[in-house]
Amino acid sequence: MLKQPGDASAQNLSLWRRVTDHAATWFAMAAAVLVIVPLLAIFIYLLIKGAGSINLAFLTQTPKPPGELGGGMANAIVGTGLILAVASVLGVPLGIGCGIYLAEYGRGRFGDLVRFTADVLNGVPSIVIGIAVYGLIVIRQKHFSAFSGGVALGVMMIPTIARATEEMLLMVPNVIREAALGLGIPKWRTTLSISLRTASAGVITGCMLAFARVAGETAPLLFTAFGNQFWNLKLNQPTAALSLQVFTYAISPYDDWHRQAWAGALILIVLIVAAVAAVRIVTSRGTLKGVS
């Protein structure tokens, strides 16, 4: 029998339903807040500890020898940029290419193998990657370099980008591909100009995620880029990086260096956020009416 609104038990039931509904909504909101809180906490803490130390000198000077006050992380900022550029040049094309293969051609055993390998690579500790690159490149070249640092970080970018690309390409409805093929567009062209273009928003997000992740990595750079107190713009020389510099300063015994470490950490986060935002703005500028 359907309960009529007048029934006392019906009223209890509907009260219970409303209570649980509200409780669930509040729980979800609380969870969201809890996620943001650590992020905000870190950021605010960094701001408090590091903002004071950021000045023109910090941004334009190289480190002073230990014991001396002042100096900056200018070379580390530039060095990070250099290393990330190398990493991106290596990681983005290879990652996207791998993702394209997995989505469009990788249905068989080999595709499964590649997928598996990518997942494993994703889980390899960053320091292990650093040591591997050390053995494969640094020892051969007999010197540390921004190049090897970039290679290490690039390798770390590949699985994330490949999987994201694959996912986004698989989400492109097959009817779109068929429409392109039906027009007499060859398959490779369809993949690049139609499927990839349709999936581009997601692929770019994947690249951004990978970029943001490796931008802050320290361990792989320990044995590859190695760090440098002085300016270096050459790819085949040891190069300073913000993450390395923060690490070195933080474990040092000097207060001034601690102060600069906070500032460096803040700069690193700001740069990453700025890079991601810039890409978002640039890629959304060309959006048409009606495209999500």
Partner: protein
């Protein structure tokens, strides 16, 4: 101008499953031919064999003789991509390229085949949109609106314009109006009637009244075979085969 299609002994498989059994059919030029039949009878498969789209499905292949005009579609040296340029296809669900503007959608087939001349592209886009009876509705928003922001009926006409832009000789339509409301459907049907002056049209439809309205010739498929193929009036008033009659009177299917 359109060309005729000659099909002789066409067989098609999905893996080991024989889906089309030795089809013989002559599609006359500059006419509309409908292909009808119950679900799973092979009508869509048949049409997709005409422009070699069938083999894009994994483990699907086809054999036989298909001649479109003077092209041997399954000939030894024939490039499937080239075949698909000469034979256009419109699908059941309108599928404009989502990230592209209306102009870019129509021009896609041309641009991605290396066509670059801006002025000629403009002319061809306009001509195609006019042929598809969409020009007046979108001419002010060509570059600003995306293809996906149009209504269903407009999207389908956009897809038709896109197919026409590469100047095919034959237009294949796989249930082009089944996802549309009656008014859009009627516009598309009117369009098909106009298009046959320039093109040969083959339309797959599960809606018999639609086949009766737009097509001059109709082929009835059942379980992978072509049971009867004749003028539409004959099929719908005095069909020769009992199976055809049972289908169109709704006694099965």
């Amino acid at each position: 101008m359109g060309v005729g299609i000659e099909v002789r002994g066409l067989n098609a498989w999905y893996g080991n499953n024989l889906a089309l059994k030795s089809i013989d059919m002559t599609v006359p030029a500059n006419h509309v031919t409908a292909v009808i039949g119950p679900s799973g009878c092979g009508k869509s498969t048949f049409v997709r064999c005409l422009n070699r789209m069938h083999e894009t499905i994994p483990e699907a292949h086809a054999e036989g003789e298909v001649k479109v005009g003077d092209i041997e579609v399954y000939g030894d040296g024939t490039d499937p991509v080239e075949v698909r340029r000469r034979i256009g296809m419109v699908f059941q669900k309108p599928n404009p390229f989502p990230t592209m503007s209306i102009y870019d959608n129509v021009a896609a087939g041309l641009r991605l085949n290396g066509f670059r001349n801006r002025k000629q592209l403009d002319e061809l886009v306009e001509r195609s949109l006019k042929l598809a009876a969409l020009w007046d509705e979108v001419k002010d928003e060509l570059h600003k609106q995306s293809g996906a922001s149009l209504s269903g009926g407009q999207q389908q006409r956009l897809c038709i314009a896109r197919s026409l832009a590469v100047e095919p000789e034959v237009l294949l339509m796989d249930e082009p109006a089944s996802a549309l409301d009656p008014i859009s459907t009627s516009k598309i049907e009117e369009l098909i009637f106009q298009l046959k002056q320039h093109y040969t049209v083959v339309i797959v439809t599960h809606n018999m009244q639609q086949a009766a309205r737009v097509a001059e010739f109709t082929g009835f498929f059942l379980m992978g075979s072509l049971i009867e193929y004749d003028k539409t009036e004959k099929i719908f008033t005095t069909p020769a085969d009992k199976r055809t009659e049972d289908y169109i009177t709704g006694r099965f299917g």
